[in-house]
């Protein structure tokens, strides 16, 4: 009865709002209040971060998956494989949606909408079915990349436990106090750098969702500030990317071989990276005959004409230089905002 009394005014109010919005037949209620000046926007300065806006997505962490028995280990050929069942987790954990919505809401309030993980998974399923219907050809690499690919991952893990009660206590209704802990980490998907963290442990309360929601709201200003600092750093020092140069199967050169310019291929590539990164920022991590791997390489964000300059463009420039100067045929396999991959096929 009480619930009904509440529902009726809410429905009535909603109907009133909807009716008033749609009262003007010239416009749709939802778009009536919208405004914008495209000309002013086009004439304003170029915003590199807006041109290639990073996708941020909340994804459950492994610990949480395990708590819901959605993370299993399989042994095959003497090796352990961790299997993560995200779809099952989203069905099993009724708190997940509410906690994730709180985080999304906080970002939305600051005009930065997050991509929704659950919806992305559904969209990927739909896309797969549509691709089958359209008869699109998909190779193994395409299939591997047909996944949720946020540029910044907000990894959410939470756990609950109860205080141990004394065995001598005669209060059998006492289950012990509930302790709630959670961690929210913002990770750069390409460099694995932790951009911001929010953590809380031993929060007391009977409602896990409510306790986490409140704690997230409290910690969000600092968390968002850290992410903003990360974006500002990109705008100042360039995008932080990883660069991987690898040789394909059957390639007729190795990185330690001497190039036509006298240096080894590895030397030539390192010199190129030194001069084509912002203030020569890079760090070598692997140097073998078959692979060169660099992290913390900083690249510019814009071309002279204000068009964006990303990892694909950077790789394309390197590819052209390798072809024109050393006669190497390569393929550009750059992905997303921060991953350079160039495959050397050899001198052909």
């Amino acid at each position: 009865m009480k619930a009904n009394k509440l529902i009726l005014p809410v429905v009535g109010l909603t109907a009133l709002i909807m009716a008033s919005c749609g009262g003007n037949k010239q416009s749709n209620g939802l778009t009536e209040g919208a405004s914008g000046d495209m000309e002013a926007y086009e004439n304003s300065d170029v915003n590199a971060m807006e041109q290639a806006r990073p996708t941020i997505m909340v994804i459950p962490g492994d610990q949480t998956l395990q708590n819901f028995k959605c993370l299993t280990t399989q042994k095959a050929n003497g090796r352990d494989y961790i299997l993560r069942d995200y779809k099952n987790y989203l069905l099993k954990d009724d708190r997940a949606k509410r906690i994730i919505s709180t985080i999304q809401n906080e970002f939305n309030a600051q005009n930065y909408p997050l991509s929704d993980f659950e919806q992305t998974l559904k969209q990927l399923d739909t896309q797969e079915a549509l691709d089958m219907a359209d008869g699109f050809e998909k190779d193994a690499k395409t299939q591997l990349l047909t996944v949720a690919q946020p540029d910044i991952i907000l990894e959410l893990s939470y756990d609950t436990s109860r205080d141990k009660i004394s065995l001598t206590s005669h209060n059998y209704n006492n289950k012990g106090e509930k302790n709630i802990s959670f961690t929210l980490n913002a990770l750069d998907a390409y460099t694995n750098k932790v951009v911001a963290t929010m953590t809380a442990s031993n929060i007391k309360g009977e409602s896990t969702t409510q306790a986490i929601q409140e704690s997230i709201k409290d910690g969000m200003p600092k968390f968002q500030q850290d992410i903003t600092k990360y974006f500002s750093d990109i705008l100042t020092r360039g995008r932080d990317i990883t660069v991987r140069v690898a040789v394909e199967n059957g390639c007729n050169v190795n990185f330690s071989d001497e190039s036509i310019e006298g240096d080894t291929y590895a030397d030539w590539i390192i010199d190129y990276i030194k001069t084509h990164t912002v203030k020569g920022a890079y760090k070598m991590q692997r140097n073998t005959d078959k692979e060169l791997y660099f992290v913390n390489c900083r690249i510019k964000l814009l071309n002279q004409d204000g068009t964006q300059y990303g990892v694909y463009d950077w790789t394309r420039d390197l590819q052209k230089n390798l072809r024109n100067n050393l006669g190497l045929k390569c393929t550009n396999k750059a992905q997303g905002l921060g991953e350079v991959l160039i495959c050397i096929q050899g001198i052909k």
Binding site: D45, M49, A76, Y81, R84, D305, T307
Partner: protein
């Protein structure tokens, strides 16, 4: 606090002023460049390698390997191999006991990604081989590393088959093998003669026919000899199979009743007149012919009063008038069935003798024998290919989906 993403970019003092990409080629130069590119791409076309030295290969079905390479996956790989072999010339499953085309499959890796949704990958190395089952010689090999991706390991294994590519390297390997095989026949005419004559002398017409029918046309001398022996060997085989054919004929008569069935005439035609089964076959055929005649007379009488009976009578009459031609077609099918069985039997016998060599070679007999049900399907597909001018893609697709069963 304003989330500072938008404001972050306000200090660039750079306006968006993109420059269009402009080509340096004139219209004529562009047309010429497109034509050159097209020619370059056509140069890679597998069709250029087709039908150059095609030798008929038998396809060996890959071994089933637990939950990874299931029977279904093995069947699908066989069809891929058939497609490759067909591009090199003529092929079939279990057609030729001497020269086989197969692949050994070794799992070289498997992994699970850390993405969402998680993807599973399996990696296999396929070693393609063309071998002589009689001698154990390997004529040519090629390898291919293949990765399969899916939402589970089972799906990844299913998808890896799609990644097996018919590459110019494989066609080159088949071509090389064909050339070497032809060379082998050219240099071993006497060996082939001895094999056929010895087998026929022992009454092993299965083996003799299998060896004779496997000689490639390009090995002129050996082929002429083998062709000259085919009729006699087929007759010998039919003698051996007369009892089987009489059994089939009896079953067909019982099933047909007074309906027309061209396979009855075909069996009767194939049972040699000098075989002990011929008299019984003659009696059976006469009885069947009488039944058909009675049916025809009844239909003819009825046709005067009944329009539907008139149509049925016309159809029956037409089929009887073409009985000879229809029986010929059926006889060819029956002969090819026995010839294929002979090939498989010969292959199985050879493989059993060489089983000690293990691997692909050791299991060839089983693999070829195991595919026999499909020989006829492929023969039918080949017929459809010839008559309906189906493209190779449709051909394999039909074979895969069992349209010809």
């Amino acid at each position: 606090m304003a989330f500072a993403l938008s404001s972050c970019g306000e200090k660039t003092n750079k306006k968006f002023n993109p420059v269009d990409r402009t080509g340096k080629l004139s219209i004529e130069e562009r047309d010429a460049a497109i034509a050159a590119k097209k020619a370059e791409l056509e140069g890679l076309n597998l069709d250029t390698l087709l039908y150059s030295h095609g030798v008929k290969f038998s396809i060996v079905q890959p071994k089933v390997q637990g939950e990874d390479i299931t029977q279904d996956i093995s069947d699908r790989i066989s069809m891929k191999l058939l497609q490759m072999a067909c591009q090199n010339g003529i092929s079939g499953l279990g057609e030729n006991p001497d020269f086989v085309f197969g692949t050994e499959i070794a799992q070289t890796g498997r992994a699970a990604t850390g993405t969402a949704p998680q993807k599973m990958t399996v990696q296999y190395q396929l070693t393609f081989k063309v071998m002589n089952t009689a001698t154990g010689d390997v004529y040519a090999t090629a390898t291919q590393d293949v990765v399969g991706v899916g939402n589970s390991f089972v799906e990844a294994n299913q998808n890896f088959v799609k990644e097996i590519k018919n590459t110019p390297e494989i066609q080159k390997m088949l071509q090389t093998a064909s050339e070497r095989i032809i060379d082998w026949y050219n240099k071993n005419v006497q060996t082939v003669k001895n094999q056929i004559e010895t087998a026929a002398g022992k009454g092993d017409y299965d083996l003799a026919l299998a060896i004779a029918s496997s000689v490639p046309q390009q090995a002129t001398v050996a082929f002429q000899y083998a062709s000259s022996k085919l009729d006699a060997l087929t007759k010998g085989l039919m003698h051996k199979k007369a009892a089987d054919m009489l059994g089939e004929m009896t079953a067909a008569v019982a099933s047909a009743g007074d309906d027309f069935d061209p396979s009855i005439g075909a069996y009767f035609k194939l049972i040699p007149t000098d075989s002990p089964e011929h008299a019984k076959a003659q009696e059976l055929y006469n009885k069947y012919a009488q039944q058909c005649k009675a049916r025809r007379d009844a239909l003819e009488a009825k046709a005067e009063r009944d329009e539907q009976a008139a149509r049925e009578f016309e159809k029956f009459k037409m089929m009887q008038e073409h009985e000879k031609e229809l029986a010929e077609i059926e006889a060819d099918k029956i002969k090819s069935k026995y010839a294929s069985q002979a090939s498989a039997k010969a292959a199985a016998a050879k493989a059993a003798a060489n089983r000690k060599s293990g691997g692909l070679f050791g299991s060839i007999g089983d693999a070829i024998s195991g595919t026999f049900d499909r020989v006829f399907k492929v023969a039918d597909v080949a017929g459809a290919l010839a008559t309906d001018k189906l493209g190779l893609g449709q051909y394999v697709e039909k074979a895969e989906f069992g349209d010809f069963e």
